[in-house]
Symmetry: C2
Subunit: 148 residues, 2 copies
């Protein structure tokens, strides 16, 4: 299987929303494809610090993730790579695509001068936690969320 | 005590680094004030999605935090506020300054259209976890880090 990693285009967006929603934890909160996703896509495209990345195989988008490059004073002025919304098409899970997606994330992070990758994963996703630990991630932090 | 919340200026930076380093967990990794912090400050200032905020009292900088505004497709196209590097001067802790700092963060997030605030806190900081829960944060996620 040949995989192409590239930035998402507007005509990928409906599929991207479908991928993000195809998940037990996120389904009810992703919403149906529409105006809010279009506005979010425009904001991501306009931001120099954000990339929405898709992975394509045989012309089909089979995975997605969002990368944010964040400068910071902590850790001796380290820039960080934040990875969000990592998804692989449900029928293709367990084939190592997620691992390749994350390797691509880390490569993009290094290209942008980031020395640390970070992400959070819902406590309801123990398999995802094992996956991130298997990539070398340290499960060192508690993650907090508050609706504004 | 009258508090002023404002964006950090270059002449605050040495004090900001001191505040970030004055912490059992972060001390050894913050580094001594120098070139990497200056470069990071320039990158934060140049980014439309990042703000380094200080709190000032009687002309002295007594607290700091970094805010990042992140557009995203998940959660129906929600923008998120990421809060990092929250610190209050050690001799002034326990007086509610951290709470006011976080309220200011949430206000800035709402002004920027964010509907969710998120942060992570080292598992070695149980008091910080209690603090964030007391602000209404849900401790729903595991936080992962990987050096790149």
């Amino acid at each position: 299987m040949e995989l192409i990693f590239r930035e998402a285009r507007l005509d990928d967006l409906e599929r991207v929303v479908e991928l993000i929603a195809d998940d037990a934890v996120a389904a009810r909160r992703t919403g149906t494809y529409g105006e809010p996703h279009l506005r979010a896509f425009e904001a991501i495209t306009a931001s120099p610090d954000n990339e929405l990345v898709v992975v394509e195989s045989d012309g089909a988008v089979i995975g997605v993730m969002q990368l944010t490059f964040i400068p910071g004073i902590s850790r001796n002025g380290a820039s960080r790579l934040l990875v969000e919304a990592v998804r692989v098409s449900s029928e293709l899970r367990g084939q190592g695509i997620g691992r390749l997606l994350m390797e691509h994330a880390h490569e993009r992070g290094r290209e942008r001068g980031c020395v640390l990758a970070q992400l959070t994963s819902d406590k309801q996703r123990p398999e995802a936690h094992r996956f991130y630990r298997s990539l070398g991630y340290e499960q060192s932090h508690e993650g907090f969320k508050l609706p504004l």
